[in-house]
Amino acid sequence: MRLLREAWYILLGFLEMMGACGLFLVRLIRYTPHALRRPTLIFQQIFNIGAMSLVLIMVSGLFVGMVLGLQGFNTLNKFAATSALGTLVALSLLRELGPVMTALLYAGRAGTALTSEIGLMRATEQLAGMEMMAVDPVRRIVVPRFLAGVISMPLLVGIFNAVGILGGYWLGVIHMHVDQGSFWSDIHTRVDLRDDFFSGVAKSFVFGVAATLIAVFEGYYAQPTAEGVSRATTRTVVNSAVAVLALDFLLTALMF
């Protein structure tokens, strides 16, 4: 009986969080036209969120591409089908690994920074100070960061994919001597622009909205203490990862 009641409270808490998150998203979208009139704020945040994640994304993309090249080569070699290596690398990256890995790395690199920054602003009463000056902190602080995240994510995914394919190419063609022509021509015939490329971009856009929303939401509603901010930062990583993977399943089931 007690177990049931615990489960009930957990369910209620989950629903409450989902609802609050959804309402926050509506609020952010409503302020978006207003924020677009001050693009400088957004560009500054694109620097913080996107440009600063660049090195991490490129290095990770390279390694993921190389691992795909190596694993794919070992498996395809058993079936004498190494000419399909390019397709394997490109399809895995464009459809799945690119958006998902980038979103997870993004949650760790940029999401935590957003949460702790906004959370500390709350803890040091900067947000309250803004409200005193009749400046809405959601408009001034949260919306530009949210938009910057949403803009940055597809760009980061594009860079991740490009570097990843290069990594796969480097390993497959230069190290394992897969034929260069069949590597590319197989990609050109089998990777579809609409079904594979654009659905990957759509995925990355959705992940960008979800991961950034969770980050700014946790930051904005963090307990204004040192412990509260640290807990909010942890929750950002955990919730973003779970949300991204769940959304990934949902989108894959819908689109493919």
Binding site: F47, N161, I187
Partner: protein, 156 residues
């Protein structure tokens, strides 16, 4: 002032790099070329059995890709498969008595349509139909035929 300028430059570089990366992946790692070839003409062909042919499958002549399968439907009267083929406008001198057959690339590869030129001096044009067609070879049927032949008494 110096610092904000650096930030602006790096941000701009990031955005440009992101779009360039997306563009490169879209153009050099997908079949984007297949989307451009909408200039051309459409012909239709009726097959008894198309095997595993799918929309967007290749149409070749002497191994050279000349078009794509755009649509596959079932004729409600004859229960045959109606296949619409879009042929690139450059190949506008295909005799109208050519034969279309459904072939398989490799032993386990995918199906495509191969066109063998006929001898007529009239050419296929928008809306015309290919009369002579050859259905796909279905491996199971072939094996079945082989066994029923072998089991026939007095065959050998």
């Amino acid at each position: 002032m110096k610092q904000t300028r650096t930030i602006e430059i790096v941000t701009g570089a990031f955005i440009v790099l992101g779009f360039v990366a997306l563009y490169i992946v879209a153009t050099s790692a997908t079949n984007i070329g297949a989307y451009g070839e909408n200039k051309g003409y459409t012909v239709s062909a009726e097959f008894n059995n198309i095997g595993g042919l799918k929309p967007r499958a290749a149409v070749t002549m002497a191994g050279v890709a000349i078009g794509r399968v755009t649509d596959i439907r079932l004729d409600p009267k004859s229960f045959n498969a109606l296949v619409s083929i879009q042929i690139d406008g450059r190949f506008n001198q295909i005799p109208d008595d050519s034969t279309a057959s459904i072939l398989t690339s490799g032993l386990l590869g995918e199906n495509y349509i191969g066109i063998d030129a006929g001898g007529s001096d009239k050419f296929l044009k928008q809306g015309s139909g290919i009369q002579y067609t050859q259905s796909a070879l279905v491996l199971e049927k072939l094996i079945g035929q082989f066994f029923s032949k072998a089991a026939e008494p007095g065959s050998k």
